[in-house]
Structure formats: structure tokens, C-alpha cells
Symmetry: C2
Amino acid sequence: MNFTRRFTLAGLLAVLLPVSATVAQVDSLPSWNSGSARQAIVDFVGRVTREGNPDFVPVPERIAVFDNDGTLWCEQPEYFQAAFALDSVKAMAPKHPEWKQQEPFKSFLAGDRTALAEQGEQALLTLVTAAHSGKPTDEFSKSVADWFSTARHPRFNRPYNELVYQPMVELLAYLRVSGFKTFIVSGGGVEFMRVWAEKAYGIPPEQVVGSSGVTQYQLDAAGKPSLLKTAKVQFIDDGPGKPSGINMMIGRRPILAFGNSDGDHQMLQWTMAGSGARFAGLVHHTDEVREYAYDRQSKVGKLDEAWDEARAKGWTIVDMKQDWKTIFREKP
Amino acid sequence: MNFTRRFTLAGLLAVLLPVSATVAQVDSLPSWNSGSARQAIVDFVGRVTREGNPDFVPVPERIAVFDNDGTLWCEQPEYFQAAFALDSVKAMAPKHPEWKQQEPFKSFLAGDRTALAEQGEQALLTLVTAAHSGKPTDEFSKSVADWFSTARHPRFNRPYNELVYQPMVELLAYLRVSGFKTFIVSGGGVEFMRVWAEKAYGIPPEQVVGSSGVTQYQLDAAGKPSLLKTAKVQFIDDGPGKPSGINMMIGRRPILAFGNSDGDHQMLQWTMAGSGARFAGLVHHTDEVREYAYDRQSKVGKLDEAWDEARAKGWTIVDMKQDWKTIFREKP
């Protein structure tokens, strides 16, 4: 084995030196402007990683959880997974001639937005479910990968998975080099995220918690097994479901949590209710020039009650416009 | 930080030296007799960890999954979690005077095994559910820890969590030093196992996959959150549920799986159906003197169809009597 190929200098330092000494010597957050948000993060990490500090937390307990949509990547003008689902329904339509006579597929495929809107939320859910069921898990993963390689965001004209926030990618890496284990805890589909999350964020599949459907084990005639994605919901990892998801899939209470909307409210409460040093952060979308500006009135990523509690309790609020030098990851 | 306190020599070697060189220099499996089972394990680990070998597997993909009951610890004369549940119902009885008139509690508390048996499997399930619901998660964890500190196995007269198999504990450690990430994938309750699994096996809570109930997020009058364990099933991680659980919670197909019963059959099939080098192992309970001997006819841990497929396909079968020098972990 070639030693230098396997271990970067930074990785080696992380092992050979005290963690706090390592991270103090480099600027781990170059895309963050100086300010109270950046300072709160660095202070917290310093306190929990410095041995002898009263707030010191042993490495195995340094669990950090991040919402995905609107926290690690963009969620406007619609959740990217919804865009994937609607594109998928269009792509699947030739194999489903019956959809021409069947709502909500009929209105959607005819581009009749008014008729579709009249059918309410349930119509959208039916379309999303159709895109996420009826195929084996490996086929679904391939369809996700294919979509990312061709679909482009309507405003930024870039592949959706390039629209991840550079400052948050840096924060994830900074936490990991400081001994944290980083998890995604998202309302999004766990199988949708795992296809690209490792490359985008350095978060491996087994550290992605999300919503899921029931899968059905089956053997083909040759005895080869597969998992069929059914239309039945297994678990919704959103709102009060996030603490439940953390309990079911991680089994430890995080010491740091980051979100951006009311869907993250309970996850932040749950994190802060533990003993010892705790950190809760909210990304506030304030930059309509470089990204989007929205909070209390937004249909996607509404930030209202969590915002009030954050202000009342002094949780850290990241102002995208003020706190971030760069929004999106640089083009590769 | 005191460097030597934090990093053992073995851990340091694992980082600084090629993995295969490290593990070849020590006997990692001292409780295993020489034989085909031990040889199959060592051969497999050698092939997937040696760079340049056609079967080499990168570290992040070295996922190993282990059933728990009957594979990592004893499961006779009844599943230990069932023993916990029945003891819990007895302990809870004074707070539930209504149980004296209510089946199956009435027969169980009166010690009327005949009447209880006549009520079938559903009766046992009702008792187990009563022990696992109606309290917050932290209170439940405490009740599990308390039980392990006082309950004793009827035959071995030791705390149940000492009845873990020493050779399997060695195997888990050997795999980890060889770059594997080890997971439990058990039909047992995930919250029951996490209380003691880290200490017993070195497997952290976030690497325990198991069955779970629905938890309900709630805030008390002071705004303090808790998760209430309800009687509703969330997920059953057994039989065909094991590949589904692996898919939902790990998101990668394992390259090594170990079980001992038909409840592990689909997990073993799923593991073996991937591409590249694969390992499937079955613990066969053959030692009625030091532990128990059972397979096709057993009510607990029945090994029948998986056994046939293992023999037909040349999966590794561990004969407890022949292959293991020691059964249980030494007394601390």
C-alpha cells in the first residue's frame, strides 16, 4: 500500500495531534464571514473538544445532525425531490397509457396546472408516490443518478446536486476533523439522498436518516433477491418525526443540530434538551440576489415557530446574506 | 491530551501500517480452533483487505452485519428480551390492579402456564408490548439497564449480558481492525440492545439495526421534550424484514453476514447476491454440554431452510462444539 496515497496530511495530523491544536492552525471555514454565527460555531467546537474544559464531550458522543433541504442545499422554487418526481412521472408516462384518463396524471401530463391545483395536496402526493414505487431499489437509485446527470435547476441552470452550500460543506468537514460524526436527518427520501450525499457532503449512506417507504423482499425465478419499493409509507422523518428518526436510527441524542424551517423545530428542541454543552443553528434565507429570501410566509421551508424559539432562546441564526461569502459550491 | 492514553498501539499500527500486515502478525481469533470455519474467515478477510488482490474491497464498503440472538449471544431457553419483558410485567403489576381481571395478564401473574398457552402467541405478544410501551424512551432504557444488573440466567446463573460468545466478540474486533464497520441486524428491539451492545461488542448505538415501535414526541408543561414509546409497531427487522432494515438504516449491501437461524436467511441471501467477494456464516448450536444443541426442530432459533441453502451453496457453518475453544466471554 502506498502510504501517502491513503492518508492525507490533514488526516494524519488529526490522528497524531490533539484535535483542538489541529483545527486552530488552519481556517476551516473560509467561506464564512467573521461575525456572531461563525464565532458561536468555533467557540462551541472549541469548548466540547478541549480536554479539561468543563464542556468537553468524548468523541463517540459528538453527534451532529443536519437537515438537508434549505440547510445543506437549495430547496427553491420547489423541493428538488419533487422536481425529480414530476420529471420521473413524465418519463414513465409512455409505459402507462392509462394515465391519460386517470387523475391526477391526466391534468399533470396535459400541463393543466389549474386542474391539478384544484385536486389539492393529495394529487401531488399521488404523483410523487408513483415516481417512488413499483420498482426495485437498485433501479430506483439508477433513475435518481440519471436524473441528476441531466436535469438542470430552472434559475441557476446547474445540476441540482451542485447547488449545495459551500459554507455548510466546510462546516461538515470542520466538525468531522474535530471528532464529530455528521448525519443528515431530513424529511426527504433516504434512498433519494444516499445516491449523491456521500460525494456532495462526505456523509456515507449509513449516516443518512430520512423518510422511507416499505420495501418488499422478493426472489426471481433464478433465486436472485431484490427489494421492491411499494407505495406504502414506512416512516416520515419530518417535524416531530425527526426526534423519532434520530431515536430509531442513531440512538444517541445529538449535541449539535442545524436546520432552516419549522420542520426542524422538534429536532432542535430535542438536541437542546440534553445535558451538557449544546448547539442549535438555523440557516435564515435572506439573500434574494445570490439565492432566495423567505421565512414566515413561504410554502416551501416555512420558518416561523422555530424562528421565534431560536430568538427567544439565543440559538444561532445564520444570515446567508451577511454570514456567507459564497453560497454555492464552486463549479468543479 | 495524553497521546498514549488515547491511542493504543494496535490502533496506531492499524493506521500507520497496511491493514493486512497488521492483522497477520497477531492471533486475532484465539478462541477459535483451527478448522475450516476459522480458515474461511481469515481467507476472506485477507482477500478483501489486500490491495492488488482481485477481491480487494475499499474500506467504506466493508460492511459486516451480525444477527444478535443465537449469533452473538445465547438465546435459550427463551429470547432474553422475552425474559426481560415478562419480568417487567411482574414488576409493573402493582401499578396495574386491573390486570388481575384482564387476560393474558391474569393467567400470567397467577403463574397459570396452561391457561396462558391456550391463549396462543398473541397473549405473549400482548405481555411483551405492555413491557415495551407507555413510557418515555429514557425511562425504558433505565429499566433495561436495571434488569441486566439484577436478573440472572436460569441455567448459567450469570447476568444475561455476560452470555455473549467470546469467539464472536473476537471476530467483531478482528473485522474492525481490518477496516470493517460492524453492525447488529437483529429481530430484537433496537432500544433494548443499544443499552448494553456497545460495552458487550464494541458496536455503537448508531450501528444497531433492530425492530422498533412508534415513538410519540411530546412536550411537558415546562417545555421539556420526551419520546413516548407507544404500542404501535414501526418496523419488524426479522426474516425478509432484515434486507429491508439494512436498506432503510444502512443503505449499503453488506459483504459479510453472520446469522444462526431461518430469521437470518434473507439477510444472508441478500448479502451473497451482491457482486465481488462475499461471506455468509451460520452459527450451528451443537454443544449441549457448554451451551445448547438445536436446529431444525427448535421453537427458538429454528435453523432449517437457511441450513439447507448454506450446505447447498457452501456457506460457512460454525460448529460451536468443534470450532470454539471457549463459548462465553470470560467473567470480568
